[in-house]
């Protein structure tokens, strides 16, 4: 592996035919009592099939907002965005993506199994099939055997894994993850990162992953999107070519540190220290 952790300005590349997410000149302004807040401005980005894209940046840089626009939880106020060639709303109605939130957001009155099969229930999939797919999803996150437990009987890391299983249960090709491991301790986080990477390698899903941890972003991604606040914009897109079956030890290699350095430089450049 060379240290040509190839750096491209993706914005200038033509939108590939295999683009899962295609964003052009996207902007989003919130109207508040204190005047407009420019959450996103002039964002261009393409996420291709099989990509693992991390969004990194300081808080308030709009990375979560961008993910929410992709998920149709927020509406863009300008520019174009298409998911699988259709609008975010259509994509959402087609159940094109699974979304993992910062908090597990498991419903406390449902057992783990019934939480994981909740999307299948909403999609009116027959009970037998639901249970089968629920089991498979729980196996993917190594939570088999916990079907009958309730969320509050599980640790924080296990709850977050259950919420990932829930996003996986209906087998959407696109996985949107908003700082899913932000609240977990380092060891659990490493473990879940490793599991997530294996899962991604095995299922060949497309993942969009918001984080504010540089090692996490570099370790997981094929493409790192560095963002800066006020207004939220993309300041750098870094492509990496680490092997798909990389282990945690890769974080000690010079290549890894080089990419991490680049990300840090990008973050520093985009950050104004005037406050």
């Amino acid at each position: 592996m060379t240290l040509k952790a190839v750096v491209n300005n993706v914005a200038q590349m033509p939108a590939s035919a295999d683009a899962v997410v295609d964003i052009q000149k996207l902007s989003l302004t919130f109207q508040t009592a204190d005047g407009p807040v420019y959450a996103l401005s002039d964002v261009d980005l393409t996420i291709e099939r099989g990509d693992f894209v991390s969004f990194i940046g300081p808080s308030g840089c709009g990375k979560t907002t961008l993910l929410r626009v992709i998920a149709d939880l927020e509406k863009a106020t300008g520019g174009d965005i298409s998911i699988n060639g259709v609008s975010p709303q259509e994509a959402r109605e087609n159940r094109a993506y699974g979304y993992v939130f910062q908090a597990p957001a498991l419903l406390p009155w449902r057992s783990i199994e019934r939480n994981v099969t909740l999307p299948l229930e909403i999609m009116e999939i027959p009970r037998e099939e639901r249970i089968k797919r629920g089991h498979e999803a729980l196996k993917l996150v190594e939570l088999n055997g916990f079907e009958k437990k309730f969320p509050w009987q599980l640790s924080g890391g296990m709850q977050q894994r259950a919420s990932i299983a829930r996003a996986l249960s209906f087998d959407a090709d696109l996985l949107l993850m908003d700082e899913p491991f932000g609240a977990l301790d380092e060891i659990v986080r490493d473990h879940l990162n490793e599991q997530l990477l294996k899962l991604w390698a095995r299922t060949n899903k497309t993942v969009a992953f918001v984080t504010h941890s540089i090692p996490e972003a570099v370790y997981l991604s094929t493409k790192i999107v560095v963002m800066s606040p006020r207004p939220g914009r993309i300041i750098d897109v870094i492509k990496t070519d680490f092997p798909k079956d990389r282990g945690l030890d890769i974080r000690e290699t010079p290549e890894f540190l080089e990419v991490a350095h680049r990300v840090r430089e990008g973050l520093r450049a985009g950050h104004s220290y005037d406050e």
Binding site: D72, L73, R95, A103, A105, I122, M123, W152
Partner: protein, 385 residues
């Protein structure tokens, strides 16, 4: 030398029982000018007092650290209570009790207080033991209060019209079960249940409509607030005029009383689901009804049950008060208003006891269903690993 810690309650019990043996048990009979009874004449109470002195003295030193000790002092207290009641009624102390007798009651009080205190603090990992202790505390305390009531009414000779003794109320209750059953059927089964179901049920459905339609939220909620502020005393006669003398008018009063608490609680509950959970349902493209049944109604359940519990007691009050304003010649409220006029206060109290029992059972039943239905809620969670 370590300082010995004396158990103050047992000390009080021992000293009070000792003084009870010395002070006169009764007052002086105005006719004969003599003491009505002496401790020496009543071996039962004498033994009970002596036993209290010994037990009190012993546990003053030993302390009541163990549950077994608490059982012993409670047993002594139960024996003492039994002898005290026996002395009151069988030896003519009723109406003439004096210092000695009340000192003995004080001694019993100290024992019961200390004993229940120990049982209340009892902690066991065995569920059965813990639950029996949990049940024992309110029962023992309730029985003690009834005993105090009985002894004070009998000891001071309080006139029946002012306050009958619990035993008199109990006897009246048992001897008039047929009347009580008819009243219960009229007031509770017919009026309360139907009014409660209609009131809570319609408020629940209206709450869902209010939540769905914004102008109802702005228009109907303030109006509902006004309806709930209507005085029941004013509304009840009008309901009797509208719906007749029978249970329907009482049910109508209950509907008015229970509607608003249910409406407000359900509307609040429907907004209890967090933004995160709503976003989650949106990512699955879950429709209005799907989100209502899978997220918002389950999240609203603790609020709904809160209203159901409040309304369970409101409904009974409403039915009884409404019966004061016209009713067929049966019903708990009717009985209370007529028997008070005939000075049959023990019957009034029997009805009050019936209402208390019915109200408690009703509330308990709703609380039980709540526990089963919202066992996931933090206030009911039990670790089941």
């Amino acid at each position: 030398m370590t300082k010995i810690k004396l158990d103050k309650f047992c000390l009080v019990a021992a000293i009070a029982a000792l003084l009870a043996l010395i002070f006169p048990l009764t007052g002086i009979d105005p006719d004969s000018g003599k003491q009505i009874a002496f401790v020496s004449d009543i071996p039962g109470i004498a033994v009970a007092m002596a036993l209290s002195v010994i037990t009190g003295a012993a546990f003053t030193w030993l302390g009541v650290g163990r549950i077994q000790y608490a059982a012993i002092i409670l047993a002594v207290a139960v024996f003492g209570c039994w002898q005290a009641v026996g002395a009151l009624y069988n030896h003519g102390i009723a109406g003439h009790a004096a210092t000695g007798f009340w000192l003995f009651i004080l001694s019993l009080w100290a024992f019961v207080w200390r004993g229940i205190d120990v049982v209340a603090r009892y902690r066991s990992l065995e569920t059965a033991k813990q639950q029996s202790a949990n049940i024992l505390v309110p029962i023992a305390f309730g029985i003690w209060l009834l005993f105090l009531w009985e002894v004070i009414v009998a000891g001071f000779g309080v006139p029946q019209v002012l306050l009958p003794a619990p035993s008199a109320i109990g006897l009246r209750f048992i001897s008039s079960t047929d009347i009580l059953a008819a009243d219960f059927h009229q007031t509770f089964i017919k009026a309360v249940i139907s009014g409660y179901v209609i009131g809570c049920g319609s408020a629940f459905i209206v709450a869902i409509a209010v939540d769905r339609v914004p102008f109802l939220k702005r228009g109907l909620l303030p109006l509902g607030n006004m309806v709930s502020a209507l005085p029941i005393i004013g509304v009840a006669p009008i309901m009797v005029m509208w719906f007749g003398f029978d249970w329907q008018s009482k049910a109508a009063v209950i509907v008015i009383m229970t509607f608003f608490p249910m409406l407000v609680n359900t509307v609040t509950g429907l907004n209890a689901a967090g933004a995160l959970e709503k976003d989650l349902m949106a990512t699955y493209a879950s429709g209005y009804w799907s989100t209502l049944f899978r997220l918002r109604l389950p999240a609203a359940m603790p609020f709904v049950f809160n209203a159901l519990k409040i309304n369970s007691t409101l409904a009974l009050i409403g039915a009884i008060v409404a019966e004061f304003f016209g009713t067929p010649i049966v019903g708990m409220g009717f009985r209370i208003s007529t028997e008070v006029g005939r000075m049959n206060v023990d019957m009034v109290w029997a009805e009050i006891a019936l209402a208390a029992l019915a109200g408690t059972a009703f509330y308990g039943a709703v609380a039980y269903v709540e526990r089963k239905a919202t066992s996931w809620h933090p206030s009911f969670r039990v670790r089941r690993h």
